[in-house]
Symmetry: C2
Subunit: 234 residues, 2 copies
């Protein structure tokens, strides 16, 4: 079985894809499901999210880390973790994470949203679905690789290595090296460009929340790719 890490979403995918935007879209999407949302939709654009406004719908997202005017919520997992979304549908659009998921869904057979918080559970789910390859796709930030996502990819690789035999590509070796050199996950997250930027706009507590490893077993899996967007359910 092949294990591959794309340090940016630049490839085409044939099997199972774990999409990582640990700060914060893939962390937050899982929290919405944890907190009772029936599904999370990733739209291709901000406009496509706004069009879905209606009863039972929560609009969530960010631009430059900050909430979007006319949206109900930002992209804060910490905030979401304190709310109840039972029976609601959350429609999300973010700068990097939703775009990376769309790139993965264009060719991938199974698409899973992974973060540090659900790392072990996401790795197990991917392992159970994959036939020949697991690709971990780092969303990055505005077209540049992020230390936060590459570290998270390394954590996922480490779990997967414990579950079987793999042929690693160069990206997986790089991610594992980053993971193994850094002990405390808060260090690469807070030190990344994304982490520093959140700190600057007063969202440093979100970074701490996203740095907790395998606290949750809720894994968003792509259930449907409709005109409404990518529909994830746990």
């Amino acid at each position: 079985m092949k294990l591959r890490v794309d340090l940016l979403p630049y490839g085409s995918y044939s099997d199972t894809v774990l999409v990582v935007d640990v700060l914060r879209a893939t962390t937050t999407a899982a929290v919405f499901l944890e907190q009772g949302a029936s599904e999370v939709r990733f739209t291709a654009s901000l406009e496509a999210a706004l069009e879905q406004r209606g009863e039972g719908i929560v609009l969530a997202g960010e631009r430059g880390g900050l909430p979007i005017p006319d949206f109900d919520l930002g992209n804060s997992p910490l905030e979401a973790s304190g709310l109840n979304f039972t029976g609601r549908t959350v429609v999300m659009n973010t700068t990097n994470g939703t775009t990376a998921a769309h790139a993965a869904a264009a060719s991938g057979k199974h698409v899973i949203l992974a973060s540090l918080r659900n790392a072990h559970a996401a790795a197990r789910r991917a392992r159970s679905l994959a036939v020949e390859e697991i690709a971990i796709v780092c969303a990055g930030r505005e077209g540049r690789s992020g230390l936060d996502d590459v570290y998270t990819a390394g954590v996922l690789c480490e779990y997967l290595l414990a579950m079987g035999e793999w042929t690693l590509d160069d990206g997986a070796r790089i991610a594992l090296t980053v993971r193994r050199q850094v002990g405390d996950p808060l260090e690469p997250l807070a030190g990344s460009a994304a982490g520093e930027s959140l700190e600057r706009v007063g969202l440093g507590q979100d970074v701490q929340f996203c740095a907790r490893i395998s606290e949750s077993t809720v894994v968003p899996v792509l259930a449907e790719h409709s005109e409404l967007g990518l529909i994830f359910r746990s």
Copy 2:
């Protein structure tokens, strides 16, 4: 001063760019100059190289690691190191390295070819030219990041860190982490996809040659960007 590493050539550049394709184009280009070539031209295509065939011209390049029919030489730095190119112009085209250099030259102010063999000298040259930013661009392999190039970028970062104060981007942090975790340069080079592929076609000795750090002070610097291609001189 900013220090940035692009794990693939995906950006635009405003100042000084170090292009890295350690296995093997940027290593080999420097060897041609060491061995007396008056200049090395990187063409945009294989055809553009063939059109320059003529007296005093040496055509060198590869596809899939192997020499190109009708070319005089492959892309072997070891082979080039045993030949004399005094007064000759070497016209090169390769799968990844020449493409990465063209991407860098499209916007970069100063473009330098770096490898492990000239790492210290290339870092010093970049430091002396840069005004606000040094970007290290990893050529990668067929659109994917290479462990060999990212490791080499880490070595270059380490030299640069010793020469002044820098603001590091995430790519630079990742490259430095890879560099610091691995002692022997032969390990990431031989273990990379590019290194394994060269080993398979019987070119393992080239990998060993490329793994020698700072053995040379010859640094190819972009002197001219003409219709003949990118013209590098030392």
